[in-house]
Symmetry: C4
Subunit: 175 residues, 4 copies
């Protein structure tokens, strides 16, 4: 995969990969059964991507306006480091996390798909919009994935970052 100089420069500094859930880690389906239970479809390739990030020493996190037991189950399985759920706005949640980790904004990557993601995307060092993102969200991204949310978009971002940081081959061997 060809990675532009600009993208390389941004990806080289990333220490934490944050992402939205609906439309990013999923295809954007909001699923209920008639008892009010929620169901969520994640993706195995994304899961391996998050595992590769962890094996390489990067941190991962989720920022979502919605709270859901399905996210907690999947996040526990993947040992995602930071879970910011049920937030009213994403930017204050991001600022609080950044302060607590004592990291610069350019050390964060954020992957989003819709309007509520834009304020955080404007702050971070590497703002990514997935292929299925709304137009305005794409305009606020440094990189737009080829894959769609829930279909490997997160994996694509992780592999770019690990490749630029020369950590990919080593992480694959640790699997």
């Amino acid at each position: 995969m060809k990675i532009s100089k600009e993208l390389q420069k941004r990806a080289r500094k990333i220490k934490v990969i944050l992402m939205d859930v609906d439309g990013v880690l999923t295809r954007g389906d909001i699923v209920y059964d008639s008892n009010g239970l929620e169901i969520k479809h994640f993706n195995a390739h994304d899961g391996l991507g998050i595992r590769l990030a962890r094996l390489s020493g990067l941190q991962t996190g989720i920022i979502s306006l919605r709270e859901s037991g399905t996210i907690r189950t999947r996040a526990a399985e993947l040992q995602i480091n930071h879970l910011l759920l049920g937030k009213d706005k994403k930017l204050p949640a991001f600022d609080k996390l950044r302060n607590s980790l004592n990291l610069a904004a350019e050390e964060f990557c954020f992957i989003g798909d819709d309007y509520p993601d834009i304020p955080v995307m404007r702050e971070v060092g590497l703002a990514v919009a997935v292929q299925n993102a709304s137009q305005l969200t794409k305009k606020n991204a440094h990189y737009i994935t080829h894959k769609s949310g829930g279909d490997g978009a997160v994996r694509e971002v992780v592999e770019i970052i690990l490749q630029v940081q020369n950590l990919l081959q080593q992480a694959i061997e640790k699997l």
Copy 2:
């Protein structure tokens, strides 16, 4: 997005956006488990669209021949104003709502996908058929969405109406 003069004229008057459920707010899947429980797949981008409509002062509503707990759960989450479920015919349900709201037919938009939607589509000011609608339903529409039901069709309609009414930018900022 280019919006035709005719569509602009119709969209400008809309105060209430009504929609069918199966095939419009979903891909048309009717899902059961072996205990008889029903499951329904909605869409996050449509959800944000309905939220934008509400933030702009527009009313929203659902007219469906089927009754389902899944619709009630999703409608409550999105604070949809009018829920007309389990109706035998859609037109009498629409007429009753229109009378109770004391609004003109041209102040309603209706989004449908199949034959039972046509009688209401013939009444309202802005009749929309989704991309996956049956042919005859499309022929009765003033506008056919580019997106399919369950994949952002409702969001597409909401954004057109808010853009024509100069309310979109302001609604996004309120998110």
Copy 3:
């Protein structure tokens, strides 16, 4: 829609529309949860098709090697006339039904997608394979649908039969 003379001739005689389930009334997904419960995805447009057939006086039926509560729930909702589930072979089940109804083979349509459907397809007056059927199954069909199973294939067949029998317009008005 253009309907060939040959297809018109076959469709004109149909009194009973029979169909397989997995891959025909669904996309072919076999879904389980970790408690062993089964989940099945049907399609709203197919549902309206079956309703149109019933309103026109045609009978409908399902022949499946598998037994599932999900099929019974959906069949009850759609008032499907004949339910032949959990059969070891499809042809004996079909023969028994044909005898009990005292109808000729040419008065039956069967819609299938895979090898176990072929013996029945070789008997009936109108054998249909869905777009997603296996090659050999398609070779045994008088008609191959443009739509895939679970995505409107059954509806497509019903509309062809009703149109040829001059019953479609009237059925739509009864909805």
Copy 4:
């Protein structure tokens, strides 16, 4: 279907077909409900493929890093011979199975989609990557399926093996 000389040579020796689950027998969706229950989408055409393999005297098996009740339910229904679930690494699990069956590596086919599958793919006589596999996984395959995982990829592989071994027609007749 055209089958290359090289593929014919490899397929002729196969006695056991092994496969990964997520992304191979499914589209790669990892699905949870808000009670932590898992849901998995298999495919009816793959199921018939596994049945054809069994009717032809071939053995089948699953090697997965994940353990799930959904796999056990589907495997029991299809009478899959070997279930190696919840393994930390796939190669030791494969080696142990091969020893217990007292078969040569060239008598095994393995169908995979991602990095953890590669060590086993390097050992077996016929290594298959599904259409939706990651690039590096495809590079380690003798054959790449036209169909994607969860959409008939396993069926495609079974039919190639049975056709090369002149067992397909006979198996179809036994259905």
